[in-house]
């Protein structure tokens, strides 16, 4: 068992590397540049300042490197075993960047002339004499753009020979390659990624920690009930309803629930969004009376806010688990020892609950374990609909904002969580069902 687990964990490493590599490359192939995202939209910048800013951003996020290099750097950063690297704001780096800026300014004219020579073919038509002053202005603007682009590329090439070091991202060779993982900084939220994840992850886990037991307990009851009425209309009906429930899209339920149960037009029984009331911070923890008014308190308030989202998360699982309970209960009931129990003259309910149910819990527990890997992706939609700031929402927001570092790190977290849950599921199989063994046969 232990050796199996170790092997399993070691196999996670190539899986994580492969998955993140695929995602990273997809992002790198995207036809948009991060730089454009980071530059101020309306372009209120002084002449030359754009160049400075670009250089800064490239340094800061290491964007001047080719994609595979960036991937390696990123992996190095997020991995606990990896090289220490220079950060963009360490004094040595700041000094090198200053030197480099000075150097760039020094050779600017020279590079410009070179680039103009190289681009002569493209520039000639743009510089052709024209009476149309308007066209001429646009031509000049276009020429400047072309030159700027080429100049940046040329500068980068020249720089490599100059050997400015250390620059951000360069490796500190003299340090032992063990460090705290660095998940990077989010540029839409201008803060490190780690606290963002630390805030979002518990929310998602809380949602699921409420939803899973809820689904489990209801489904056990329903499953037993329908197994008891096996073959009768109750069973048939429950089966159909459960299958239907299973097909109901979460987005629909969410929208309808908000629309009908959390709106002033219909029933205003639930809050439409968020996890806390605005005044939740000022509330006492447990329900209490304040100034003669009933106040629901922080705990109840949170539960009240989570009511609909938890329902949306749990009903699909509930539907499936009930069906599973029923099937596995029926299967157990057809076993010989149950027949023996019946023959012994035990009461039907005793047989059902004590002997049948007990053995049927195994597949349910294992199934529950296999559900775990999907909790984050499963709650994306629910979190978006109900405006809850969990992991799912973090990932979606990061993608919508094209916030690469946040997205990558959040996805990494999701992947790790998923793999961890696989592992848990494996362990659950073994604990729950002694017949399963991972030892070599």
């Amino acid at each position: 068992m232990v050796s199996y687990l170790v092997r399993r964990i070691l196999l996670f490493i190539p899986t994580i590397l492969g998955a993140t590599f695929i995602i990273f490359m997809l992002l790198a192939m995207a036809p948009q540049s991060v730089i454009d995202q980071l530059l101020p939209p309306t372009g209120e910048m002084q002449a030359g300042s754009r160049e400075l800013r670009m250089a800064y951003i490239e340094d800061r996020y290491g964007l001047d490197q080719p994609a595979p290099v960036r991937y390696l750097r990123w992996i190095n950063n997020v991995s606990p075993i990896g090289f220490h690297t220079w950060r963009y704001d360490e004094p040595e780096v700041v000094e090198q960047r200053r030197l480099r800026r000075a150097w760039r300014e020094g050779i600017d004219a020279e590079v410009r002339a070179e680039v103009e020579r190289d681009l002569a073919d493209q520039l000639a038509p743009l510089r052709a004499a024209t009476d149309d002053e308007q066209l001429a202005a646009v031509n000049r603007a276009r020429a400047d753009q072309l030159i700027d682009e080429a100049k940046r590329a040329r500068m980068r090439k020249l720089e490599a020979d100059q050997g400015f070091s250390p620059l951000p991202g360069d490796i500190k060779w003299n340090k032992i390659p063990v460090k705290a993982p660095d998940l990077g900084d989010s540029f839409t939220k201008s803060r490190p990624v780690w606290p963002l994840i630390a805030e979002a992850l518990p929310v998602t886990l809380l949602l699921n920690a409420l939803a899973l037991p809820l689904a489990l307990s209801i489904s056990v009851v329903t499953g037993i009930w329908s197994a008891k009425h096996r073959g009768l209309w109750q069973d048939w009906g429950t089966g159909g309803v459960l299958l239907a429930l299973y097909s109901v899209p979460v987005i629909w339920v969410g929208v309808m629930a908000i629309g009908f149960l959390a709106s002033e037009q219909f029933v205003r029984a639930f809050p439409p969004a968020g996890m806390h009331d605005i005044q939740a911070d000022a509330m006492s923890f447990f329900p209490s009376r304040v100034d003669g008014h009933w106040q629901r308190g922080f705990l109840l308030d949170t539960l009240w806010h989570l009511g609909l989202p938890v329902f949306c998360l749990s009903y699909v699982q509930f539907a499936y688990l009930s069906k599973l309970t029923r099937t596995s209960l029926l299967e157990t009931l057809s076993a010989d020892y149950i027949r023996t129990a019946h023959a012994k003259g035990l009461a039907p309910n005793v047989v059902l609950l004590r002997h049948g149910m007990r053995n049927s819990l195994i597949p349910i527990i294992t199934f529950l374990a296999s559900l775990l890997p999907y909790i984050v992706t499963g709650s994306i939609v629910v979190e978006v609909i109900f405006g809850i700031n969990g992991m799912g929402r973090l990932v979606i927001d990061a993608l919508k904002g094209k916030d690469y570092e946040l997205f990558l790190s959040a996805t990494l977290m999701v992947l790790m969580l998923k793999l961890l849950c696989y592992l848990l599921a494996d362990i659950a199989y073994v604990i729950a069902d002694p017949r399963v063994s991972f030892s070599a046969k």
Binding site: E44, Q134, P272, L361
Partner: protein, 639 residues
């Protein structure tokens, strides 16, 4: 069979689970208490320091050491509309806090309570100068002050941190005399050192304050004459020189000095100033995620405002925003037209709220820009259909803007005729927006050489090129979708095929900068007296200018240049009127609408009035004072 998992085990695990939950819950509760204690502790400390300070100054006064700072004097006719009447009949325009004094005389005036507002978006950074969030400016103007402030009723500049100023005849030199009693929120006095530091810091190329620097390009030098006098010199006369220098938020040198530019650029919450409010968490502790709360600065040197706190929440979803307002959890809601109409017809809502619909020059306008020379990627720039003035006029006339207004904005918007605030003096009073006139539009188009030559319903030019164009618009907003959908049909009626192209913001900006679009629809925000140079002057086709649609008219260029140089308000307004005329004739943009602010406000907020900048507190107006108060009986947040 020992390994079997039975019912008993199940309950055991359940019990264990419950136990864990209880422990977690207890931990959460402990955290909450800790936070509260921490906060209370901080507040107590500030208060006791404040008491000490007051004691000290009392002692000084007793000793006869301090002279009360002279207020008043030299407000020369430096800027702003000298000819404008004052909304409030006060002769003494040197007291920056007269709005508060007025409020105090009102019935039911009370201090205390919070005002809860909503940004409607997440805000990532409140560090001044480097934040690109417009909402960060709101916070900055509450926490920091400039040397002068724009009076919301007259648009004149009145002294704030300055006692007064002198402006030289040619407008190239300005001297400001600072108050001697102003302090920052940590109690340190504010002196000329801080003013000089602010400008040094802003102009430092390492600091990513490009936005602010681009406004200060005319500034040649700034120097300290003595501790409370600073002098600014400009390269050229420009009508906005004064306002840009005078409304600059003065930053405390002793606080910002501790950071190097890189740290400053990267820090999210470095904000300290001398204003009436301060960031709740402290000048360097704010982190994004929970909105911004500003609390009253207990050591404020000036007249303290009535509200204890102003809370800005970050509710992004419109429905959630509406519900919060309905539950009276927020005091103000900024509505799109649909929501505004719905809420203001709702009796339950109107029982506690009132509609505050008003226009604000800061709100600007939305437009369609017709690109006259398109630069497709990898190709030579080519003139488009829109390089012809007649075509642009026809494009405007084909649009039934009033119908569009009714369709999409429920008639709440106002058809725009130019880039200026339609109620302000910059607008030419006689210009009406082009009417909706398909017949004229069609004849203009045929005069320009376009007609349906092959009978497919689309008009072609003389070489047989069909008149089709792409309209680029930003994705993510239902409103734009509606506008664009309307435009497709409107242009189809003129025989023009319009293909909508929705782009995400970053791609859109890239294409805009590369001038790679046919037409684009966007909005500009504005200021009380706006300068069209950046957008319409032909020099701005090149470089980082905003003339992305390559519009050029030498006559307009010279009119703008002249207006910028003219320091006399009356004269300048005439020139702006001329600019408006030319733009109206040329239609480089089809100006769509000026958008009023459709707000609903909780009735508990009193003293909310309209002014020339919007309401009497407009968060974007530099140095705005918050004169709103909440009567004792309606206060609900007690701390």
């Amino acid at each position: 069979m020992e390994n079997r998992f039975g019912i008993k085990d199940f309950f055991l695990f359940l019990l264990l689970g419950v136990l864990i939950v209880i422990v977690v819950v207890a931990m959460v509760q402990f955290d909450r208490q800790y936070r509260l204690v921490d906060q209370t502790f901080n507040e107590t400390r500030t208060l006791s320091e404040e008491v000490n300070r007051i004691k000290r100054s009392l002692a000084e006064i007793e000793a006869g050491g301090i002279a009360l700072a002279p207020v008043g004097g030299g407000s020369s006719e430096s800027s702003g509309g000298g000819g404008l009447e004052r909304g409030k009949g006060r002769d003494d325009n040197t007291d920056p806090f007269y709005q508060l004094a007025d409020a105090q005389r009102m019935e039911g005036y009370a201090r205390g309570d919070w005002f809860v507002d909503n940004f409607g978006t997440k805000i990532g950074r409140i560090t001044p100068l480097v934040s690109s969030d417009v909402y960060a400016t709101w916070i900055e103007y509450l926490v920091c002050e400039g040397m002068a402030q724009r009076d919301p009723y007259t648009l004149d500049f009145v002294p704030r941190l300055a006692r007064g100023w002198e402006v030289s005849e040619d407008g190239l030199e300005m001297t400001f005399h600072l108050r001697r009693n102003a302090t920052f929120s940590d109690g340190e006095p504010l002196t000329g050192e801080d003013v000089i530091f602010t400008f040094d810091w802003t102009m430092n190329p390492e600091v990513q304050a490009d936005r602010t620097r681009s406004y200060l390009t005319q500034l040649a030098s700034w120097e300290k004459i003595d501790d409370y006098t600073v002098k600014f010199t400009f390269k050229e006369p420009y009508f906005q020189n004064f306002s840009q220098v005078a409304t600059m938020s003065i930053l405390p040198r002793h606080f910002y000095e501790k950071y190097n530019p890189t740290q400053f650029n990267e820090h999210v919450g470095l904000l300290m100033g001398s204003g009436p409010y301060m960031v709740q968490e402290g000048p360097d502790r704010w982190t994004p995620g929970n909105g911004v709360t500003v609390v009253r600065n207990p050591r404020y040197w000036g007249e303290p405002p009535p509200l204890d706190r102003i809370v800005f929440r970050e509710i992004e979803e419109e429905t959630a925003d509406a519900v919060s307002f309905r539950n009276q959890q927020t005091d103000l809601i900024r509505c799109p037209p649909e929501l505004f109409e719905k809420l203001s017809q709702d009796r339950d809502v109107m029982a506690f709220a009132r509609s505050v619909k008003h226009t604000s020059p800061y709100k600007g306008y939305i437009y369609v820009a017709w690109n006259q020379v398109r630069t497709r990627s990898g190709q030579q720039p080519q003139p488009t259909f829109f390089s012809d003035k007649r075509v642009r006029q026809a494009m405007t006339m084909l649009l039934d803007r009033s119908r569009l207004n009714e369709e999409v904005f429920l008639g709440q918007y106002r058809t725009a005729s130019g880039p200026f605030d339609p109620t302000g003096p910059q607008s030419h009073p006689d210009i009406e927006p082009w009417p909706h006139d398909v017949a004229t539009a069609r004849s203009l188009l045929s005069a320009a050489g376009y007609s349906d030559r092959d009978g497919d319903g689309i008009i072609e030019d003389s070489q047989g090129r069909p008149f089709t164009f792409t309209l680029t618009y930003p994705g993510g907003s239902e409103t734009w979708e509606k506008v664009v959908k309307y435009m497709v049909t409107a242009y189809a009626r003129g025989g023009i095929k319009m293909e909508p192209e929705r782009l995400d913001w970053p791609v859109l900006v890239t294409r805009l900068n590369a001038k790679d679009f046919d037409a684009i629809t966007l909005g500009w925000s504005s200021v009380p007296e706006s300068d069209p140079y950046q957008i319409f002057h032909s020099s701005q086709i090149e470089g980082q200018g905003d003339n992305r649609n390559s519009y050029r008219n030498p006559e307009l260029d010279s009119a703008i240049e002249e207006a910028r140089r003219t320091m006399d308000t009356q004269e300048r307004m005439k020139l702006w009127n001329r600019v408006h005329e030319i733009l109206h004739e040329d239609q480089p943009y089809t100006f769509l609408f000026n958008r009023p602010n459709l707000w609903l406000m909780n009735q508990r907020v009193h003293n909310v009035e309209e002014s020339k900048v919007g309401l009497n507190w407009e968060p974007l107006n530099p140095g705005g004072i918050v004169p709103w108060y909440i009567p004792q009986s309606m206060q609900k947040y007690t701390q």
